[in-house]
Every structure is written in structure tokens, then in C-alpha cells.
Symmetry: C2
Subunit: 313 residues, 2 copies
Amino acid sequence: MNALVIDIGGTNTRVALASGPAIVPGSVRRYRNAEHAGLDAVLARYLSDAGTPPIQSACAALAGPVRDGRGRLTNLDWTIDEADIARVTGARRVRLINDLQAQGYALDHLSPGALIPVLHGPQVRGGARLVIGIGTGFNAAAVHAGPTGTLVTAAEAGHSTLPVSDEAGLSLARFAAGADGFAAVEDILSGRGLEHAFGWITSQAGSPRTMAAHSIVERAATDPDAAQALRLFADMLGVVAGDLALNHLPFGGLFLTGGVARAVTPYLDAPGFAASFRAKGRFAPLMAEFAVHTVTDDFAALTGCAGYLAGQG
Amino acid sequence: MNALVIDIGGTNTRVALASGPAIVPGSVRRYRNAEHAGLDAVLARYLSDAGTPPIQSACAALAGPVRDGRGRLTNLDWTIDEADIARVTGARRVRLINDLQAQGYALDHLSPGALIPVLHGPQVRGGARLVIGIGTGFNAAAVHAGPTGTLVTAAEAGHSTLPVSDEAGLSLARFAAGADGFAAVEDILSGRGLEHAFGWITSQAGSPRTMAAHSIVERAATDPDAAQALRLFADMLGVVAGDLALNHLPFGGLFLTGGVARAVTPYLDAPGFAASFRAKGRFAPLMAEFAVHTVTDDFAALTGCAGYLAGQG
């Protein structure tokens, strides 16, 4: 029984075949969204390359809000519809979920080696868990052990207010804000956001520069501004992840995922991240109870789609 | 079969008898915490006044974090333990839950007249709902329809970072912050927080005054500073409730509850609340999809405790 699993990110779409909750080895392919007219074209190409296998069910994870089996890719003009996926693939059963929800459904199926510890803490088995995704955008999904199964909640956490606590933060928020003047979490905590942090730091120093996110990460050892941008990013991630922890009480742990989260993980060891994560006034002691990890498995959303389809029976 | 239901707030504790998911009419009593040594004393007095009825089960809702059947009242030095409640009441089955979780379990048992509409929006049956409690403190609880029942999540949302987006907000946050310099949501959005807002407004105007929260509400028609404090409170509530909506996507509606929420509800009609609730940049259109209500039933937490015990079977 073949299932098709699809991870539609802001930049790339990944497609694979799944058998039960497991990805079929060697079946993962990645496509650049910008090179395709829409998801239909991506799926047609995948199935053609794979020798048009019969597909019984399909699950797609989308980087954007999903309602009633439909959604739009927030960062690109693609509309995704369960009915379209059924038509192109021939699948009888199709489910469209948010990509962070897929990351949540993956947690129980990750290999132990797929996690890097960031902050230690007592991890309560059966406690709520929180996945925080940082890539093209930012989002979070809480994973709750319900009476008969796992419940993963949807959110648009990256579009909530960027936290500010001093004049420097206000200046940063204004630098990163969109044309409407609203500075969201995602305006710093994303690939684009890291570029904002770098642009702000160099502007403050009187010699404004721009640098692509991947270059900021690559040049941090030799470019002090790049290193400072990463420290600023780590501090802001600490504040935001701490606020999210207070909103979801993930005593089962926090799990950072996505390309940007993986890239910045070496910078979360420095004291900035832990200090800003825990700086919640008289609730600071509670913050020491939350463990934080980074998920290194780049295909976790596909695993989550497979797990979701298998779990639905 | 008698159940005892208990709502331990920051200022008062309410106790009642329940039969199934319903409160026994006339059985509700309210006690000021400050006049009692602890919950044991309150319960002993209630049971004695009620003629020592046999109690089979009990559920207590606590204004503070609950773990492993124990919790501490955040705003008073009371430790609450399921085992103590069992000992004092003789109940065989005792459950301690967070008070906002209790409000969540009450939603399905409220009479239609118990809700005041604040913001209209399409309310999706089966969609997630969000209860926001504002009284001595601030907290939120998401209500999800799980595979076999209602799941209400716990949080300490009032201790997350107070949102700031301009110099005035920064000044307000510094005025309201604790000795550690951290300004939390609860430092404005609570009874004490409304007093901070009033103190800041009068300080800004050059004639600092203090006024108790209930007086600010009572004198708003005649005292311009009091009216301005309520407008500031409504604006901040809009920002925070909007951020919480992005974090929980409550397409089934938001429900404001607690004494302070009820007191400020007349001021949520003014444009400030709706405008700040919806001012989320390019996500503003999504914000129009969330309906907001105020729960007028002051005993909803007790109803939630009864519903929780009945739902557990």
C-alpha cells in the first residue's frame, strides 16, 4: 500500500513514498517551488519520475494556515486543495495539514540520533511538547497526549508581536517591520529575519550592509557583524521560545526544527539563549523545567505526514 | 451522589455541591482567602455549614500551575494537594486542575445568556476555543475537541512578555515591571495591572495618583484619567488577545472571563480593542475570523469542575 507524503515549504517542496509510518528509503525528492507553476506540476513530475506507482492515500504538510482541507502557501501564491491532490495522484484519502502539525506528529517516530540537546531539563513522559519551526517563516505547534491519541494544534505564531523590552529592541523592531509598521516574530526569527538582524546591526554601527542568511551563518567565524547577528537571533529566540513555553507548558520538551533552527543551533550554546529563555521575572524557576532540543532530521515533516496517515487507521 | 466543586481564586474561594455536570441551586458559598489559614479551613467550614453531607468526589480549580495533583496559589502562600482535599472531605476521587482549564470545561455547559458578544465573527462549530481569564491574575486555556472528548490545555500566559511597540509602551512596561525589571502581560492585564495603567497615566500627566481597580471602573464616567486607564487596558487586551489567537487559532471563538474582564467589557466596544486585536500586519484579515465574547457567569469555574468530574465518568 503506497502513501504519498508531501512537505510544501516556503522555498522547497519535498515528496516521498511512505509505507505505514515510515518513509520508503531512497524515495525522497526535493523541488524548488519557484521553478514550478504549482503543486500539481510538482506531483505530476514526481509520480512520472517514480514510474507512476498506484497511490492509495496522501498527506500534505503546508507552510500556512489550513481550513476545511484547503490552504494557501503564505510566502508564495499557491493554493493547495485536498481535492486537487486527489485528482493528480488518484489517492482516495487525502489530508492537508499545517507543516508544523506534521512536525508534531513526527516526534514519536524520530530516531534518538535526530535530536541535539540545547537546554537540559526534566522531561516528563506524557507531558505536552512544543515544536518550534524556523525556516522561511516561523511557527509553533503544541503536541498533547489526548485520551485516545496525539493532538497537534495549529497556529500562526510567527505573526504575533515581536517582543521588545528596551530602546534597542524598539529600534530593531522598527527596522524589521513591514510597510504597515507591524513587527512580527517572523520578522526576526526566520531566514529573512536573520538578514534583518544583520542589516540593523551594521546600520547601528554606521556602515549598513546586507548579507544573505546562509552567508551570515557561513561567515560568522570571520565577520564580527555576522556573529553579532547570530547572537541577537539567539537572544530573541530565547525570549520568544520562553513566552511560547509559558503559553503551552511543554513539560515534555521543546523541539526546534527547520533549516534556520538547525543553522543557528551552534549559537544557542552561548549564555544568551538560556538567559533570555529563563528571564521571566518570578517565573524564572519554572523555566528551568523545560528541556530544549533541535531536530536534525530534515525530512521530519514527511515522517509526520506518514505517521498521521498511519495513526488515522 | 454529591460532588464538591471548589474554585480557588487569588482573592476568594468559592465552594458548591454538584450533581452530575450541574451546580446544586443555592449551594454556592464564597470565602475570602485572607480570612482563612488555608483551603482545609475553608472546606471544613463549608461542610460544617452544609450539615456535613457525604462527598463522593471533588474537583478543585486553582489559580496557579498544577502538576501531579499538587499546586500552589500563585498570589498567596497556600499549597493545595489532592490528598489533603480527600482527607478533609472524605471524597474517594479528587481532581485538582488549573482554574482556566475549569473555565474551558465549562464552555459546553453555559447558558446562552451567559455570554456578551464583544467582536462578531464566523464561529466554527468544533473549532478550537480560547478562554482568557482576567482577575487577580491573567491566564489563557485552549479548548480542543479531541478524538473522544474535550482537551483543555494548561498555561501560565500571564507571565509571558508584555507586548511593546512604541516609546509610550516601553515607558508603561518599565512603570509596571516588578523589581527584577521584567514586565509581564499580567503586570497590565489584571486588577493590579489596571492600577499600574492608572498610575502610569497620571504620572505621565505630571500629577501621579493611585486608585484601586474597582474605583477606576466605578469612576470612569467622571474621572478622565480613570477612563483613559480603561482605554489603555482595552488596547493592551486587544494586542495580547490577538497574539494569543495567532498562537491557538480559536476559530470556535475567544471567551473572556473573570471579574476584571467583566468589569472592562463595556470599554471593549470602543474602537481601540477591535483595532489592536486586528492590527497584525498582513495577517489582519485572518483576525476578523475570530469572534470574542465575555462570559458573565461568575460561577463558570465551578460549573467546569462539575463538568470535568462528570465527563471523566
